[in-house]
Amino acid sequence: MKCRKCSEKAIINMRQHKLALCETHFLEWVPEQTQRFIEKYAMFTPEDKILVAISGGKDSLSLWDILIRLGYHADGLYIGLGIDGGANYSDESHRLSQKFADERGLNLRVVEVEETYGATIPELAVISNRGRDKPCSVCGLSKRYIMNRAAYDGGYNVLATGHNLDDEAAVLMQNTLHWAGGYLVRQAPVLAATHSGLARKVKPLCRFYEREMAAYAIVRGIEYIYDECPHAVGSTTIYYKEILNQLEEKSPGSKLQFYLSFLQAKEQGLFAPQSVEVELHACAKCGQPTSAPGECSFCRMWEKVRAVKGGRLPAAAMLTNIVEA
């Protein structure tokens, strides 16, 4: 198969676009498309200060690479979750993230959950008794809190994550099958900062297939953590991705159409905004925006840890625990 642009040997064929590209043109095409999505969804401009959530996986590292190639001011944030899973999962993902940053002279900010708050995420799941001993629930809550707080405290007005189209389509499928209206209304390439303590959240890779991001990482020589989070094995997200890819196999472009049609339907008013806006106020303990009365759910969760382990509370000066490379 030949590259559509130069007739050299293609390295990837994107059936949904009827587009095959060689290595050179694929490496040009990905940032060009990313820039197009950034502008189309008004994600950010070169004047914005961006914090990229880095997991050590292909998507987040590729996103960071692309944003730097495009000339944006983007630092990375790695959150050490303390997940071992028999393979030093967190240690290895931290090592690869740090290696990526060091090799490119980039600034990676690191928050180690255990050092900062007093327990690892798996310990937190057990102590807080949330999620039936599975850490995904407390992990999600913790990451959202820490990402937003690190962005706010560090003076970043934009928080970027590496969600790709397969991630978005899988969540969309799950929410549609459950008619989860609240989540459907909020699913978008950009979540605006609706409160002074919240960063704008953006997903610049939301229209790339996961396959394309893996290809980009390989072609760019990005070393990423290949293994799954041990707690994600068997997740429903992966199941929905497999189903969507079966559709894609029979009908190229199905995933893309599913997601883009959803965004278009939202634009056309298919989903009415929620009649009652959630009112946010500052958490009595940490000051972060919360809809809960009194303390936010993150602080309440760590209260339980302190009671059991004598761990530290989330400190107002959390950034003193952030290590800058």
């Binding site: 198969m1 990451k143 996961e210 994600a232 997200t237 196999e249």
Partner: protein, 102 residues
């Protein structure tokens, strides 16, 4: 072909796409790498070629809208059974394959 520490053998002369399907892998979720270079699906495999297969799916547990997935929320574990089916098919193919080795 090597996929997640497992080796598969398929006859030469097949396309990458057909080879992936033959061992029970979805072409949409797998990249084929030969000597460090990506191969398109229509590449015809030659005798003695050794491919590394890269799985592209990852299972994030977080969305920015505040939704967190729980792996066992839905009760059943279809993903595992799908994988088992893939693995079983793959084993059958490997055991039954003959001819050239890729």
């Amino acid at each position: 072909m090597v996929y997640r520490d497992k080796e598969y053998e398929v006859p030469a002369g097949m396309t990458v796409r057909d080879a992936l399907k033959k061992v029970g892998l979805q072409p949409e979720t797998t990249l084929a790498v030969h000597e460090g270079k990506l191969l398109t699906d229509d590449t015809i495999l030659k005798e003695g070629m050794q491919l590394k297969l890269v799985a592209v799916i990852s299972g994030g547990c977080i969305s920015l809208s505040g939704q967190t997935e729980h792996p066992e929320r839905s009760g059943a574990r279809p993903s595992t059974s799908l994988r088992s089916a893939h693995a079983a098919r793959a084993r059958r193919v490997v055991e039954g394959s003959g001819g050239g080795v890729v």
